[in-house]
C-alpha cells in the first residue's frame, strides 16, 4: 500500500490487485477462523489414531477378559480373569516372557554397540558425499522384504552356509539355528532403525563441542563419555525403543532361524490359529504391551524422553 502511495505514477510496473475468486474467499475465511482450520487439519489423522490405535488396544483388553466355549469353539462373552491368571502364573508363559525380554534386550544392546561407531563415522568423519552414500546404504535393507532377509540369514547360518565357510579356516562354526541365530537376525533387521536416530542425534552435536573438549584436555575416551554420550543419550533411547519393541513382537524370524524356540509372538500366533483361543491370545499379547510401557516409564525416569 505504502509503495503505491510513494511510487511516481507511470514509472513502476503496475501489479493487478488479487482477483476475488471463491478459493480466495475460502482462504480468507479459514485464515480468520483458527479453530476451524485446526479441525479440518487434524480430524482425519485423529480419527485414524482413535479408531485404529486406541479402540484396537481396548478391544484387545476386553477380548482377553472373555473366554472360549470348549465345545463349540465360539467366543463366549462372559467376563473372567481366567486368561490373565493363566498367563501370569503358567510356567510356560513365564519362561517364554523371560526368554523374549532377554532376546529383545540382547538385540537392543548388539544394535546400539554396532550403530554407535557407524553413526559416529557417518555424522562426524565421513565426507558429505560418503555420508550420503552411507545413509542410502543404511536405508537400503529397509526396501527389501522382511521375509527375504530372514530367509537369507537362514541360508547364511545353515550348515552349508557362507558363515561356516568363512569361519572354518579359523576353527569357528556357525551357531546354527536357535536363539543366537534369532538374536543375530533380529539385530540385522532392526539395525537401520537404531542407526538413523543416533546418526540424527550426532548430526545435531556441533563439531565445536568435540573440539572444545579436546582443547580443554579431554582425550578421545573422555570426550565420548562426558560429552558425546550424554548429549546423544535421548537418540540412543529412541533407537532402543524401536529395536526393543520390534523384537518383543516378532514371531517370524524365530520361526525361520530359531529352531524349536518360541517367543511370545509364537504363542499369540498359535492361540489365534491352531488353538483357536482368541481371548488367551489377547491376554498373551498384553504382556509385551505392559513390558513396553514399563520400559518407557523407566527411560522416562532417566529424563531421556524430554529431549526427543
Amino acid at each position: 500500500m505504502t509503495v503505491d502511495a510513494t511510487a511516481p505514477p507511470g514509472k513502476r510496473m503496475t501489479v493487478p490487485p488479487p482477483r476475488d475468486t471463491l478459493g480466495r474467499r475460502g482462504s480468507v475465511f479459514l485464515s480468520r477462523h483458527r479453530r476451524l482450520r485446526l479441525t479440518l487439519l487434524l480430524s482425519a489423522p485423529l480419527f485414524w489414531l482413535g479408531l485404529i490405535y486406541i479402540v484396537a488396544l481396548v478391544a484387545l483388553l476386553i477380548t482377553s477378559l472373555w473366554t472360549v466355549d470348549t465345545f463349540t469353539g465360539q467366543i463366549s462373552q462372559t467376563w473372567t480373569l481366567e486368561n490373565i491368571i493363566t498367563v501370569l502364573t503358567g510356567s510356560l508363559y513365564q519362561t517364554v516372557t523371560v526368554r523374549t525380554v532377554g532376546v529383545a534386550l540382547l538385540v537392543t544392546i548388539v544394535d546400539i554397540v554396532i550403530a554407535l561407531p557407524i553413526a559416529f563415522y557417518m555424522a562426524k568423519v565421513a565426507s558429505p558425499r560418503m555420508q550420503r552414500i552411507l545413509v542410502i546404504a543404511v536405508l537400503m535393507p529397509l526396501w527389501a522384504s522382511y521375509l527375504v532377509k530372514a530367509y537369507a540369514w537362514r541360508s547364511v547360518l545353515s550348515q552349508e552356509g557362507i558363515l561356516n565357510w568363512l569361519l572354518a579356516p579359523f576353527g569357528g562354526e556357525s551357531p546354527g539355528y536357535g536363539l543366537p541365530a534369532t538374536i543375530i537376525t533380529l539385530s540385522y533387521l532392526w539395525l537401520p532403525y537404531v542407526i538413523l536416530p543416533i546418526y540424527a542425534g550426532l548430526e545435531r552435536v556441533p563439531d565445536s563441542l568435540l573440539e572444545a573438549s579436546s582443547d580443554l584436555g579431554g582425550k578421545t575416551v573422555s570426550t565420548l563419555r562426558l560429552v558425546v554420550l550424554p548429549i546423544i543419550w535421548p537418540a540412543i533411547i529412541a533407537g532402543s525403543i524401536f529395536s526393543f519393541s520390534l523384537s518383543l513382537g516378532d514371531y517370524i524370524t524365530v520361526n525361520i532361524v530359531g529352531g524349536a524356540n518360541q517367543l511370545l509372538g509364537n504363542l499369540v500366533y498359535t492361540n489365534v490359529g491352531a488353538a483357536n483361543n482368541l481371548p488367551l491370545a489377547a491376554a498373551i499379547a498384553l504382556i509385551p504391551i505392559v513390558i513396553i510401557f514399563g520400559y518407557l516409564a523407566t527411560v522416562r525416569r532417566t529424563g531421556a524422553l524430554e529431549n526427543l
Binding site: 563441542l209 573440539e211 572444545a212 573438549s213 579436546s214 582443547d215 584436555g217 582425550k219
Partner: protein, 346 residues
C-alpha cells in the same frame, strides 16, 4: 625460557584444503604476554591459523612451536593453549559450574578442588551466582564470560579467541572489549585474538597482523598499521582511506606511485579561501553525510578522483544545502603514505 623463545613461533606454516591454499607460508613470532590480533576479511586465513595453533587442523607444511617446543604433531589435548570459540561451544548438558570445571575434571583434579577453582574462575568473570544454571539459561554476554572462565581455569600459556565478540550487540561488545583487556592484563598470558573488526583490533591489541589471501600483509602496532599502511589492501581494510593511483598521484603530489591519505587528515575550505596546508586541490562537493560527531564529505577532485573528507562537527559545519558547490581541500605532506604497489605473492 620466555626470554629465549617467543610464546608462539610459526615457521613456513601452510595449510591447503583441496585446491585452495588457506594459509600460505606464514612466519610469525608472538611474544609472551602479548595481546596479538589477527585481522582480515573472511577467508583470509586468520581463523585457520588459529585452528592450526590449537591443533584442530594439521598443517600441510611448516611448524608450530610453543615456548621453543615443537608441538606441530601434538593433539589439541596435549597443547598448553586453550580456545574461546565463536559459538562459545558450552556443553549444553552440563551446568555452568560443570562446564568451567571440565578441563580440571579430565585432568583428574578431585571433585572438591575442581569445583572450588571453577567457582573462583566464575567469580573473576562476575558470574559467581550462576554456577547452577544451564548454558541455555544465560544471555550471550554471560555465555561468553563462561567460555572465558572455562578456557582460563586450566591456566593455559596462551589463550586463542576466535571472533569471540562477533555474536554480541554493539554496547555489550564494547563492554566485553574492556573486560578482555583487563583479563589479559591480570592473567599476564598471551592472547591471540581473531577478528574481522578493524576497530576492535586497533582498540585491544599490542600488535596486529593483517591477513589477506592466506598471508600476513602487514605486521605492526595499531598506530603503525593505521598511520602507515604498506599496501592498498591494508589502507582500505583498516579504517577508511583515499588511495590514489599512479596517474592521479602525479597530478596531486607531483610524483608517481601509490599513495593513501586518511579522510580525517584532509581539511576543507571554500575555493576562495583554501585551508592552510602544504598542498591544496580544488573540486566539487558531491555529498554531505552527517554521522553524529563528524560529517563525511565526498568531494570530486578536478584531478579526477573522488575522495572522502572527515570534518569534526563544530558551530559552522558544512550543510547539505552546499552540495554541488566548489571547494578546496588541503593536506600536509607528512600525512601522505607511500604504498607498495599490490604486494605480489610469488
Amino acid at each position: 625460557m620466555s626470554a629465549e623463545y617467543p610464546a608462539i613461533r610459526l615457521t613456513g606454516l601452510t595449510k591447503v584444503f583441496g585446491t585452495a591454499t588457506a594459509v600460505d607460508h606464514v612466519d610469525l613470532d608472538i611474544a609472551e604476554g602479548e595481546f596479538f590480533s589477527m585481522l582480515g576479511p573472511s577467508g583470509s586465513g586468520k581463523t585457520t591459523v588459529l585452528r592450526l595453533i590449537a591443533g584442530f587442523e594439521q598443517p600441510t607444511s611448516g611448524t608450530i612451536s610453543l615456548f621453543g617446543q615443537d608441538v606441530t604433531q601434538r593433539a589439541p589435548f596435549d597443547r598448553d593453549v586453550n580456545t574461546v570459540f565463536q559459538d562459545y561451544a558450552l556443553f549444553p548438558h552440563m551446568s555452568v559450574l560443570e562446564n568451567v570445571a571440565y578441563g580440571l575434571r579430565v585432568r583428574g583434579v578431585s571433585k572438591r578442588d575442581r569445583l572450588a577453582r571453577a567457582r573462583e574462575a566464575l567469580d573473576t568473570v562476575r558470574l559467581g551466582g550462576f554456577g547452577d544454571r544451564k548454558p541455555s539459561q544465560l544471555s550471550g554476554g554471560q555465555r561468553q564470560r563462561v567460555a572465558l572462565a572455562r578456557a582460563t581455569v586450566v591456566r593455559p600459556k596462551a589463550l586463542l579467541l576466535d571472533e569471540p565478540l562477533g555474536a554480541l550487540d554493539l554496547k555489550l561488545r564494547e563492554q566485553m572489549q574492556v573486560e578482555l583487556k583487563e583479563l589479559q592484563r591480570d592473567l599476564g598470558i598471551t592472547f591471540i585474538f581473531v577478528t574481522h573488526d578493524q576497530e576492535e583490533a586497533l582498540t585491544l591489541s599490542d600488535r596486529i597482523a593483517v591477513f589477506n589471501d592466506g598471508r600476513i600483509e602487514q605486521l605492526g602496532t595499531p598506530a603503525e598499521i593505521y598511520d602507515r599502511p604498506v599496501s592498498p589492501f591494508v589502507a582500505a581494510f583498516v579504517g577508511t582511506s583515499n588511495v590514489f593511483d599512479d596517474e592521479v598521484s602525479h597530478r596531486l603530489f607531483g610524483h608517481g606511485g601509490l599513495h593513501s591519505l586518511r579522510p580525517e587528515k584532509i581539511s576543507i575550505g571554500s575555493e576562495a579561501s583554501p585551508p592552510a596546508a602544504d598542498r591544496t586541490a580544488t573540486g566539487t562537493l558531491a555529498e554531505v553525510i552527517y554521522v553524529g560527531s563528524s560529517t563525511r564529505l565526498i568531494v570530486d577532485l578536478d584531478a579526477g578522483k573522488r575522495i572522502t573528507v572527515l570534518e569534526q562537527n563544530d558551530a559552522h559545519r558544512v550543510g547539505e544545502d552546499q552540495r554541488g558547490s566548489r571547494v578546496s581541500v588541503g593536506w600536509n605532506d607528512v600525512d601522505v603514505v607511500d604504498l607498495e604497489p599490490a604486494i605480489t605473492h610469488q
